[in-house]
């Protein structure tokens, strides 16, 4: 664990190229790829085992679909039931280019909005495919019985979301993620009952088995008995979600973690754009040091809520006593055409700016108002209640304030990670046979994800993309050689995993896992959060190896490894955060431009807006692991824009 001479060192390797995306007109590429991909004879599919890690929208839909096609699926989740994956918490909705509103929407417009929203750091081919598939997703979910909101005529209702000017977001009150996930979970359940999926709940992947350069299985721990086991397959699919919990406080579930993708990265999978994290503008502000997580208020609230702060610094009158002309509706003022519906990165940064100016509200001045008084006057309280009732209730439960009477207070919080394992057009990582889908990969959202696009991508990957592309890999790589637990590579991996857990238990220091996680999170939020500087990132890069060193000296994990031990689970996840955090800071440092959710203070326009630098950074940064604390190798994938020409984003 020796640190390199300079914390900011890295080597530059050969460019990484997506060899799977076909050429030709963009709207034909997905058809072309599906036609060119080899197929596996239906009768042979049951002979192939596919491991799927995670049961969220991506993993749940992929597991169910692969099993329906005839593959033997072995699936894992750390939760006690596949129904609890964190996709369940997504509130707002799912985009689809159905154009049911006849408002000028089209596949091309959804494609365009998503590439632009991602600040021109996503791959055109992937995004176009996503837009094409979006319409099929709605059909699929309706067929499963997902109870989307409907109009009186019985047709599906839609609403608008940030960063777009059409109404293409389908929703189920404020619980769209829950309803879509239960649809996937039910499809998964049908296959479990049919015996085509072997489901392992409360089982956490701790490492990836790579034999002869191919992914052949995983090492996983039964969280109840503590037993560490190996599982083998012809291909491994990671659908383990994002890594936002590196910040300690985020809107992710408490147990969401980066272990599956980080372990895969250590085994050779490149990690792309790790610094691209999304800070969501509408979360409930924190109340104190005891805070364990942050709660999102759906972005859909920005459809009807108006965001403001007092015009004067330090105005601490209750909001209802501040007259209209002393309020600054700053988003409507700065961005008149998009107003409160600017993309998330812009809304978040604007909130930070007004709070930094000393005009923030609530405890510590870390908040802005989201006010529904006008909406209630315009459409009546009953209508507001119908649209947002559950969100208002949730807000009131957490804050003990009634948002029908007092404006909500909101502040940005870490919500989603656009970065993830590098994948090609087939969603395959740089390790043959290892696929990454959903938030675990990097492919579709560039430097900023638009609202209601995560559900779309998770389900596109799981229901439609992966089940087509994985055929090609399995058809070309029939594994006649069987890998067993006796294989020396597997033995070594098992020993290494057991050793890591034993070490964590044996140190018996004087600091809890949470204390380290919190320290790391605060550091990341300060230096690798909404606004970043060269000096700050260098400071973080110096500090992280020190925290890591202290962790391995002072961590205290009670109990044993042979039982249900939540402290051990936590500590083991922090081991990976402590490495991933360093890569995130390094990636942020090297990308000396402002882009999407990532504002680099040295790179701004004269009027303080983000300045992207296409001449230098129009690429995806794919990092290769070389050792803990060692300088990683950067492989660039150049981004080519044939259809959407990069411009400075304007929402004014």
């Amino acid at each position: 664990m020796t640190a390199s001479a300079e914390y900011s060192d890295y080597a530059t390797g050969a460019p990484v190229v997506d060899t799977k995306a076909p050429q030709g007109p963009i709207n034909e590429r997905w058809d072309t790829r599906r036609f060119e991909a080899k197929l596996v004879n239906p009768a042979n599919r049951r002979k192939h085992t596919v491991i799927v890690v995670g049961t969220g929208l991506a993993g749940g839909s992929a597991g169910a679909t692969l099993a329906e096609q005839g593959y033997h699926v072995v699936q894992f989740c750390y939760q006690d039931s596949p129904r609890r994956a964190h996709s369940i918490a997504a509130q707002g909705g799912i985009n689809a280019a159905k154009n049911y509103r006849n408002d000028g929407d089209s596949i091309h417009r959804l494609f365009y909005d998503t590439v632009k929203g991602g600040d021109f750091r996503a791959r055109e081919s992937n995004v176009h495919r996503l837009a094409q598939i979006s319409v099929e997703i709605i059909d699929q979910c309706v067929a499963q019985g997902v109870p989307f909101a409907r109009e009186y005529g019985g047709l599906l209702d839609t609403r608008s979301f940030g960063g777009v000017q059409v109404s293409r977001t389908f929703y189920a009150r404020g619980q769209t993620g829950q309803q879509l996930l239960l649809g996937a979970y039910q499809a998964l359940s049908r296959q479990i009952a049919a015996g085509t999926i072997e489901m392992h709940p409360r089982t956490e992947m701790l490492d990836l088995i790579v034999v002869d350069g191919r992914a052949r299985g995983i090492v996983a721990r039964d969280l109840i008995t503590g037993r560490i086991d190996t599982y083998f397959a012809d291909a491994v699919v990671l659908a383990s979600g994002g890594y936002g919990n590196v910040f300690y406080l985020s809107t992710n579930a408490m147990n969401s973690n980066a272990t599956a993708i980080w372990r895969a990265h250590r085994r050779g999978a490149y990690f792309a754009n790790p610094c691209f994290t999304q800070i969501h503008p509408t979360c409930i502000p924190r109340t104190g040091d005891h805070q364990s997580k942050l709660t999102l208020m759906s972005e859909s609230l920005r459809n009807d809520g108006r965001i403001w702060v007092p015009k004067a610094k330090g105005d601490d009158r209750p909001p209802n006593q501040i007259p209209e002309d002393e309020r600054d509706y700053y988003l409507e003022r700065i961005y008149p055409s998009f107003g409160n519906l600017v993309p998330r990165d812009i809304a978040s940064r604007a909130a930070k700016n007004v709070c930094d100016e000393g005009r923030g509200v609530g405890p510590g001045g870390q908040g802005v108002y989201l006010d529904f008084a006008d909406a209630i006057r315009r459409m009546g309280r009953a209508k507001v209640e119908e649209k947002y009732g559950n969100l208002f209730d949730m807000y009131e439960r957490i804050t003990a304030e009634n948002p029908y009477e007092v404006p909500m207070r909101i502040y940005p919080a870490v919500h989603y990670t656009m970065g993830g394992l590098w994948v090609d057009y087939d969603l395959q990582t740089t390790i043959p046979g290892l696929f990454a889908i959903g938030e675990a990969n990097f492919s579709d959202h560039g430097a900023n994800r638009l609202g209601a696009s995560a559900l779309m991508q998770g389900l596109a990957d799981g229901y439609f993309v992966l089940p087509s592309t994985i055929n090609d890999y399995l058809a070309r790589n029939p594994h006649h050689d069987e890998v067993t637990a006796e294989h020396p590579v597997v033995q070594e991996l098992l020993a290494e995993t057991e050793d890591r857990l034993h070490t964590l238990l044996a140190i018996d220091g004087d600091r809890t896992p949470d204390s380290f996680h919190r320290e790391l999170g605060e550091l990341m939020w300060e230096f690798c959060g909404m606004a970043r500087t060269d000096a700050g990132l260098r400071k973080a890069l110096e500090r992280i190896p020190q925290i890591r060193e202290e962790f391995w000296r002072r961590i205290k994990v009670p109990g044993t490894g042979e039982e249900f031990n939540q402290s051990l689970e936590k500590a083991n996840r922090i081991v990976d955060y402590l490495e991933l955090a360093e890569l995130m800071c390094l990636d942020a440092l090297h990308r000396a431009e402002s882009c999407g959710g990532h504002f680099r203070e040295e790179s701004q326009t004269p009027d303080g807006e983000a300045a992207r630098q296409d001449d230098k950074f129009s690429y995806a940064a794919a990092w290769e692991f070389t050792g803990t604390g060692e300088a990683p190798t950067l492989h660039k994938e150049d981004l080519v824009f044939e259809y959407v020409h990069p411009t400075q984003r304007s929402y004014a």
Partner: protein, 249 residues
């Protein structure tokens, strides 16, 4: 505030359990109940004791993982999930009893963690629409009356936490099972499997060892998502209809 906690401790499924008493101090009324338990656990770890195991994940009231009986009530005194319960519902000096879900079909895993896999098996028995990926017709091909869509949604809100079972003196899973049956059976997409769904899910529910329903209504009172008690009546109607139609039981 300062509190006395009496917590169910049980090493594993096979071990005997007992209540243990702990004191916690410096609890803020803005903390969630689970953050209060986090505080206790941080202290226990530093003292070299085994922290209290409890299920939790999203802490937003939607994943359904958290599952504590607090002073005898599933999810505690407010109508919400344990993770959304805040300490402002308690007073300085209170003694709080914390136990796991108690039901024959939910065996204890450790301390406050129980095994709810019986719920998954009930869904596997028929809580789905058979709609393989790719076979779906255009979404607008079948309009669904808004009232039916709203009825389906109201039942689909169930988070599968199991509070209904924990609250029921009989340990029945009728509210959980009926919520899924009503969600799917009211929709045109769910109609082809309407009879087999209710018959198979109810049979699985019985097989899992859940008790019978005597309509005490405790389930609906404890349900954090407000699934109504009439949901059970609707399921019984569906079941009766299905037995008559199919001759099965």
């Amino acid at each position: 505030m300062k509190l006395t906690l009496r917590v169910w401790r049980q090493q594993n499924a096979a071990a005997e359990g007992a209540m243990s008493t702990y004191e916690v101090d410096g609890i803020s009324s803005d903390m969630s109940f689970l953050e209060m338990l986090d505080t206790l656990n941080e202290e226990l770890i530093l003292k070299g004791e085994d922290p209290v195991a409890f299920d939790h994940d999203c802490r937003e009231g939607i994943c359904g993982a958290c599952s504590l009986v607090i002073n005898g009530d599933a999810h505690g005194p407010e109508r919400t999930t344990t993770c959304q319960l805040h300490m402002r519902s308690f007073k300085d000096g209170d003694t709080i009893d914390i136990e796991p879900w108690r039901a024959a079909a939910f065996p204890v895993v450790k301390d406050l963690v129980v095994d709810r896999s019986a719920f998954d098996r009930i869904i596997q028995a028929g809580g789905y629409v058979t709609a393989p990926t790719g076979a779906a017709p255009e979404a607008h091909a079948t309009p669904v009356p808004k009232a039916d869509a709203d009825f389906a949604f109201e039942h689909a809100e169930c988070i599968g936490c199991g509070a209904c079972v924990a609250a029921c003196p009989n340990g029945a899973a009728m509210l959980f099972t009926s919520a899924k049956i009503n969600h799917l059976n009211v929709l045109p997409q769910g109609a082809p499997e309407r009879e087999s769904r209710v018959l198979d899910m109810v049979a699985q529910m019985d097989e899992e060892g859940f008790g019978g329903c005597t309509l005490t209504g405790e389930c609906a009172t404890a349900c954090p998502k407000g699934i109504p008690l009439v949901s059970i009546t609707s399921m019984n109607k569906e079941w009766l209809r299905a037995t008559r139609k199919s001759g099965r039981r």
